[in-house]
């Protein structure tokens, strides 16, 4: 039984909309197939847990309050609240000195990182091919959306491209290519943090081909973020012969 047929049966059964014959056939199947029984239970529990807007609202309030709320022990240690004013002033003064020093000393540093990023970053060329991406009729309905995302990317409308690729990537389990392009779009917009979130996940669990590309762009993303240590660590992991190996070696020397 394919997943869509199975899900359909489970949903009809849970909603109580099966005909008498359908129901008795399904119950017969359930009595002999323990994995189907387990799947039915999971679907029921998931629906029970996630239904209703209020519980999600409560969860987000809980997260918010939990972030802010300090235990009496934390307050005593003076992590934020209850900090002696005089001590705070002297720290503020010290910070100010540091900030001024940073701006006096750092332009050369920033410039060199910016240059390194600018001379190495170019958005990966668009190689997505709708025919190979959407090989079966099941995903045919995605074609217009894929088309739109590709056009936005080619037109350098990266904000739109990122949005479209990210939304496509939630629609299919085979979403690595969409995610790579979403990350490159973010990087093109200067959003290194957003790019890093996507790329870190890809280098963790994507197939090897995507890891190679992602590793290079992740290195660049950290460079854009001016985190040289993380940038180096990513670039060092690019193996000889892999995508952008030579460029990575050159960059490591400059860093």
């Amino acid at each position: 039984m394919t997943d869509d047929v199975k899900y359909d049966l489970i949903e009809k059964y849970l909603a109580g909309v099966m005909s008498e014959t359908e129901r008795s056939n399904f119950e017969n199947q359930l009595s002999t197939d323990s994995s189907l029984q387990e799947e039915l239970n999971l679907h029921r529990q998931v629906a029970e847990t996630l239904k209703g807007e209020k519980v999600h609202e409560l969860r987000s309030v809980l997260k918010e309050v939990d972030k802010k709320w300090q235990s009496p022990a934390e307050k005593k240690e003076g992590k934020v609240v209850g900090f002696p004013f005089r001590k705070m002033l002297s720290i503020a003064a010290a910070l100010l000195v540091l900030v001024v020093a940073y701006f006096v000393i750092s332009p050369s540093l920033n410039n060199s990182q910016e240059n390194l990023f600018a001379s190495n970053f170019e958005p990966y060329k668009m190689v997505l091919n709708q025919r190979s991406l959407l090989p079966n009729p099941e995903t045919e309905w995605m074609r217009p959306a894929v088309n739109k995302a590709i056009s936005a990317y080619n037109a350098k409308d990266y904000a739109e491209a990122s949005k479209l690729f990210q939304s496509l990537s939630t629609e299919t389990p085979d979403a690595n290519a969409f995610q790579v392009y979403a990350a490159i779009s973010e990087l093109s917009l200067g959003h290194s943090d957003q790019a890093i979130v996507i790329l870190e996940k890809l280098v963790e669990d994507a197939p090897p081909l995507f890891i190679e590309q992602s590793r290079w762009y992740l290195g660049l993303a950290y460079l854009q973020k001016e985190d040289n240590v993380a940038a180096k660590s990513q670039l060092q992991q690019i193996k000889s012969g892999a995508f952008k190996y030579d460029e990575a070696q050159k960059m490591l020397k400059s860093l």
Partner: protein, 191 residues
């Protein structure tokens, strides 16, 4: 109409606050009950972060209990939450077998059976929430409406698209969610 009975006005208001996901009420509940929970969990092989996690789970279980209909609080809210958290933490420790020896002499306090079973399910619920939060925003919306039994045609209207598109997306989103849960290593342990 939900019926809530508490022995004092403050607790009554705080319970209503949970039901309405009211920020100020939740903050007040944190200050009222969490410090004691943190101390107790720390004395029993846990950390402050463990205490905060189970406190949130207890509040969600309590929310569901109150939401399900009539709820009567027979002691103060502070004590009630302490008992819930205590039971939750003890069951967590018992599940980690290596901790069992340190539990000699500490017993769970009986709560009503319905609430007890909600607490038992709470770790699994957290797993469902975790993977639900990882879905795209559109998927989350569709799933939430679908679980609420909103007809697909109406979901399609809300999102300004066709019913057949929503049907396909609903399947893809649900498959993604169910598979992510099934592939989570905690899922096997919680079955």
């Amino acid at each position: 109409m939900k019926m809530i009975h508490a022995s004092n006005t403050q607790d009554q208001q705080l319970l209503e606050g949970i039901l309405n996901a009211d920020n100020q009420a939740i903050e007040a509940i944190y200050s009222l009950a969490l410090p004691a929970v943190i101390s107790w969990v720390k004395e029993n092989n846990g950390s402050e972060s463990d205490a905060r996690d189970i406190f949130q789970e207890a509040l969600i279980a309590l929310f569901r209990k109150v939401e399900s209909g009539e709820f009567k609080l027979t002691c103060t809210l502070k004590s009630f939450l302490r008992i819930m958290c205590r039971n939750l933490w003890l069951s967590r420790l018992r599940n980690k077998q290596n901790q069992a020896s340190s539990l000699d002499g500490i017993e769970t306090v009986d709560l009503d059976a319905d609430l007890e079973s909600r607490l038992e399910q709470s770790e699994k619920e957290q797993l469902f929430f975790k993977h639900f939060d990882l879905l795209g925003e559109n998927c989350r919306k569709i799933m939430q409406w679908f679980f609420e039994k909103v007809p697909l045609k109406q979901i399609a209207e809300k999102l300004d698209t066709s019913e057949s598109y929503i049907k396909k997306r609903k399947f893809i989103c649900k498959e993604k969610l169910v598979k992510a849960i099934q592939n989570d290593e905690r899922f096997e342990e919680l079955r």
